[in-house]
Amino acid sequence: MTSALACLMVGAALAQTDEQPDPPPDPLAPSAEVAPNQRGYFGGGSVPEELKRSSQLRVGDFALGATAAFGML
């Protein structure tokens, strides 16, 4: 549970970062267009899986997680 939450937290913040290849072009978009959301400007860089550590704050029946990435690119 805790490690899953940590993955969710980091993944939510950094889902668009550098480890994943760009998605294929939007099939509904004009042919000369680069699909939206491919800027790669999300976050200052992704945290390798090996370094992710579970940590959570519980409020009532909810576990809360937050990330903040500061970067220069």
């Binding site: 549970m1 939450l5 969710l8 937290m9 980091v10 939510a12 913040a13 950094l14 668009q16 970062t17 550098d18 480890e19 994943q20 290849p21 760009d22 294929p24 072009p25 099939p27 509904l28 978009a29 004009p30 042919s31 000369a32 267009e33 680069v34 939206p36 959301n37 491919q38 800027r39 790669g40 400007y41 999300f42 976050g43 200052g44 860089g45 992704s46 945290v47 390798p48 899986e49 090996e50 370094l51 992710k52 550590r53 940590s55 704050l57 519980r58 409020v59 029946d61 909810f62 576990a63 809360l64 997680g65 937050a66 990330t67 903040a68 990435a69 500061f70 970067g71 220069m72 690119l73």
Partner: protein, 332 residues
């Protein structure tokens, strides 16, 4: 060069049964020395699951995102700066599974809205329905089959050449998944798609479709992923009846832990996509390297480099991009 800040929050229920989660995130940046436009993208979403029994449940999700389309990425005379894109997605599904048989149905709706009247030809609403029957032959082998339906309606249905864009697609697929060994898993699916346009003057289309994949994880942090697929897509291109797309892709990833505090991850992806109706072929290369260092329990330093390049026989579709990023990520 940009200074960027990307906060995100997530709340996940801890109920023994059922589940609900909320998430929100943003990414904002300031351009230094006129190197581009400032950006501010954000998204919110919620997802949940209601357990009806030990083996059946209802899943639902809804999300909204606000992105921008970089004016440098689109060849258009109507652009003056980045253009905001609004995207809403919602889905609802029911699934039930027994010891061997499983069953699922689902529906989804999405809305894409690009600001500005000149993009009404791309603004659209799509609805999807799908069903799936699954049979587990053994722990290593399972089969599935099911139909799918997709309908897209555009704000500006009639293209400049008089052709209507609104269309619906019917598909049926059968597939199998097989775990060859502890390190290799494979999947294959074949089917058929029929594409019908509302415009009676426009030719409909149909095609065999399919997909296949193989994942090899030999250990030591290495994963090789191979994919191939063929699909029939609804197209917004003027004068296009449909768009048959065939894609092959290979991704090699490696993760290396360098002691307790640092790690290095790398990936190399190659893919080729053929749009047969457009007589266009793209080849994409993406290579990335990320170094992470744990500063404290909750703070990480990261440095990454990504290179991406597209080769295409379509005019003005080639590009390459270098991205170097350094930063600190806080996670709680």
């Amino acid at each position: 060069m940009f200074l960027s800040f990307s906060p995100a929050v997530r709340a996940q229920s801890t109920y023994a049964r059922h589940s609900i989660g909320f998430g929100a995130g943003a990414s904002m940046g300031t351009a230094l020395k006129d190197s581009g436009d400032d950006f501010f993208d954000w998204r919110v979403g919620a997802d949940g699951r209601i357990d009806l029994s030990r083996s059946s449940g209802i899943d639902a999700a809804v999300g909204y995102s606000r992105d921008v389309e970089d004016d440098e990425d689109v060849d258009s005379e109507d652009r003056d700066g980045d253009t905001p894109i609004h995207n809403i997605d919602a889905s609802l599904g029911y699934s039930a599974s027994g010891e061997r048989l499983g069953f699922g149905v689902g529906g989804s709706v999405s809305r894409l809205d690009i600001e500005g009247d000149s993009f009404d030809d791309r603004d659209r609403t799509s609805y999807g329905l799908n069903g799936r029957l699954r049979y587990k032959w053994s722990d290593a082998l399972s089969f599935s089959a099911g139909p799918a339906y997709l309908r897209s309606t555009f704000d500006e249905d009639v293209a400049d050449d008089g052709d209507g864009r609104d269309a619906e697609r019917y598909s049926f697929r059968v597939g199998a998944g097989y775990r060859v060994s502890r390190t290799i898993s494979t999947s294959v699916g074949i089917g058929y798609s029929i594409l019908n346009f509302d415009d009676p003057d426009r030719d409909n289309d149909d095609s065999a479709v399919g997909s296949a994949g193989l994942t090899w994880s030999p250990g030591l942090g290495t994963t090789l992923d191979l994919r191939a697929s063929r699909s029939l897509e609804i197209s917004v291109e003027d004068g296009e009846d449909a768009r048959n797309r065939t894609t092959g892709a290979a991704t090699l990833a490696h993760r290396l832990k360098l002691g307790y505090r640092s790690a290095l991850s790398s990936s190399l992806g190659l893919s080729a996509t053929r749009f047969s109706d457009l007589d266009r072929t793209d080849a994409d290369l993406v290579a990335g390297l990320t170094y992470g260092y744990r500063l404290t329990e909750h703070a990480f330093f990261t440095a990454s480099y990504r290179y991406s390049q597209r080769f295409s026989d379509e005019d003005n579709a080639d590009y390459y991009r270098n991205l170097i990023a350094v930063g600190v990520t806080l996670a709680y």
